[in-house]
Amino acid sequence: MALLELRQVGMRFGGLLALEDLNLEVPEGGLYGLIGPNGAGKTTVFNLISGFLRPTSGSIRLSGTELVGLPPHRITALGVARTFQNIRLFGELTVLDHVLVGQHLRGRARWWQAVLGLPGARREAREQERRAWELLTAVGLAEVAHEPAGQLPYGHQRRLEIARALATGPRLLLLDEPAAGLNPQETRELMTFLQDIRRRYGLTLLLIEHNLPLVMGLCEHLTVLDHGLTIAQGPPAAVQKDPAVIRAYIGKR
């Protein structure tokens, strides 16, 4: 069964049709790409899945659980994490704090237990810190753990956004243009990194990307959107040859 399943999802903003009849099946463990020209509705899809927008029609299920109508934090708790197209970090907080915030939703201790410093709450805090260091070491950010995120170089900020999302313990990771602003060398590193975390954490990845070499090299399956309509679906090689795709997207270049 598919981990993520979108059925007939549509989204209208007033008279503007942002998305129409999108069907998407992301298999467990898959690496799925969502591409399309600017304004095609890709980020809207992410906002619908992560609960920031409520679709005007259709259903979105995560291994059978309906996500439509749930608030973002509940959807994250069910195992969907995301990054943002324009990096959105917690500027002043340190790198370590970011990862700890990501773990906050898995905490069992209540606020008053933390305030009273009860043994259970302390143990949990120590455990969270240990896991945070583990994760930072795994993604190569341990050295800058105490730096405020706002002062990191751009590539590190992108990486931190992914680390923070990983800290929430996701099954499905939504990446909104992870390679935006990276040079070819950094993009290659990102590809290896994504493959690596996918294996290590048993993740399913759904990514939006403009960088075609990255998408073609990484994804097993693609959906191409244009003006809210699905114009092609299939493996990269087939999509690449699709005349509609060439007309709408590649042909424009």
């Binding site: 973002p72 917690f90 002043e92 340190t94 700890l100 906050h104 939703l105 933390a114 753990a145």
Partner: protein
């Protein structure tokens, strides 16, 4: 190999923790000793001043929780302080005193006959304020946006008008008189210590981090699974509780309260205190509260008539406030983030500063 070695960092951190913990405990013991001495040997004025310092620490630190840690502009501490003050006052007065005070309209029934000791009265003041915190916070935090400032500002007015008109509950514009004065410094300083402890621990917990994440980027925080509504409600209601307790203390410190006593001016004063201390810094709020309360007293001099070069200059009432405003401007100009910014005071940072003259950042 990456530079991080778990064992080394953990053990040096532990050593630092214990040393600064000892220093903190020593500083607190010293403070307690000073308070005991002040209570024993200090005159009435000094004791009163110390009460004021403690109450302002309580109010500033709880204000800092919602304004500084969560980054929500709350403009109604005075409303919750008023609620706490009236609640506590109505509970501590004896039935005979109440009968003598409520001349025009008698006090409504259950309150007419109860009389409680100070501690439960303060607690009740806090709980009533927290209850109104739940009522006002619920609609505000359900929607996103900057409604909190408007709602809390309006709530301050609602409380004042209600206090003026609910004769049978508040004695209207006449207010309440002859409250029993605080009999020990430990009341105000105990509450202040408790407030600082709770806010400090909350801020440094997982919940406090989530609140700071909301301050930095609410959308991103929600995407990371932070329930913004619950966290903001927690901070808001908890601050309302401490405002209420602080209000109860203020009432028994001033011993006479009236509907307009805790006006928006008090809120503004608290806002100056936390901005100057550094929005988001608990220790900054404490230091700033101490400074402003004491400075407010020392600056009384400027409002007194005096001889200047043989000329008699009459006292200018309100000049202190002009000086405070100038001070605020200076801080905003030269220390844009307040004196401590978002850093916290730490012994390690103080040591580094003293030894090297170098500003070292405290981490958490």
């Amino acid at each position: 190999m990456r530079g991080w070695r778990p064992g080394v960092r953990a053990s040096s951190l532990a050593a630092l923790m214990t040393r600064s913990t000892w220093l903190t405990l020593a500083a607190m013991a010293l403070l307690a000793l000073c308070l005991a001495a002040a209570e024993r040997f200090g005159n009435e004025y000094q004791v009163r001043l110390l009460h004021n310092v403690a109450v302002f620490i309580t109010l500033a630190v709880s204000y800092h929780l919602i304004n500084g840690v969560c980054g929500q502009l709350h403009l109604g501490p005075n409303a919750f302080i008023t609620l706490g003050a009236y609640t506590a006052a109505l509970l501590t007065l004896t039935p005979a005193e109440k009968a003598a005070t409520f001349l025009l309209t008698p006090l409504i029934w259950p309150l007419r006959e109860v009389s409680l000791p100070l501690a439960p009265a303060l607690l009740a003041g806090g709980l009533v304020a927290a209850g109104f915190g739940v009522l006002t916070g619920f609609p505000v935090f359900r929607v996103r946006g900057d409604y909190l400032a408007i709602v809390t500002l309006g709530f301050g007015e609602v409380v004042r008008v209600a206090a003026n008109n609910l004769q049978g509950l508040t004695n209207g514009p006449l207010g309440l008189k002859g409250l029993h004065p605080l009999d020990s410094l430990w009341w105000s300083w105990g509450v202040a210590g408790l407030t600082v402890l709770v806010v400090h621990r909350l801020k440094n917990s997982s919940f406090g981090r989530a609140m700071q994440a909301i301050r930095e980027d609410e959308t991103a925080a929600r995407a990371m699974g932070v329930d913004a509504f619950r966290h903001l409600m927690l901070a808001y209601v908890l601050s309302a509780f401490f405002f209420g307790v602080g209000g109860g203390l203020l009432a028994h410190l001033i011993t006479t309260i009236s509907p307009g006593l805790f006006s928006f001016f008090l809120t503004f004063q608290l806002l100056i205190i936390i901005v100057v201390g550094g929005l988001g810094s608990t220790t900054g709020a404490v230091l700033s509260a101490v400074f402003f309360t004491l400075a407010g007293e020392w600056l009384r001099v400027v409002e007194e008539p005096r001889q200047v070069f043989g000329l008699m200059v009459p006292g200018i009432p309100g000049l202190r406030l002009v000086i405070f405003s100038l001070l605020l401007l200076l801080v905003i100009l030269f220390f844009r983030r307040g004196l401590l910014g978002r850093r916290e005071f730490s012994w390690a940072a103080l040591g580094a500063w003293l030894s090297g003259g170098r500003r070292s950042k405290s981490r958490g």
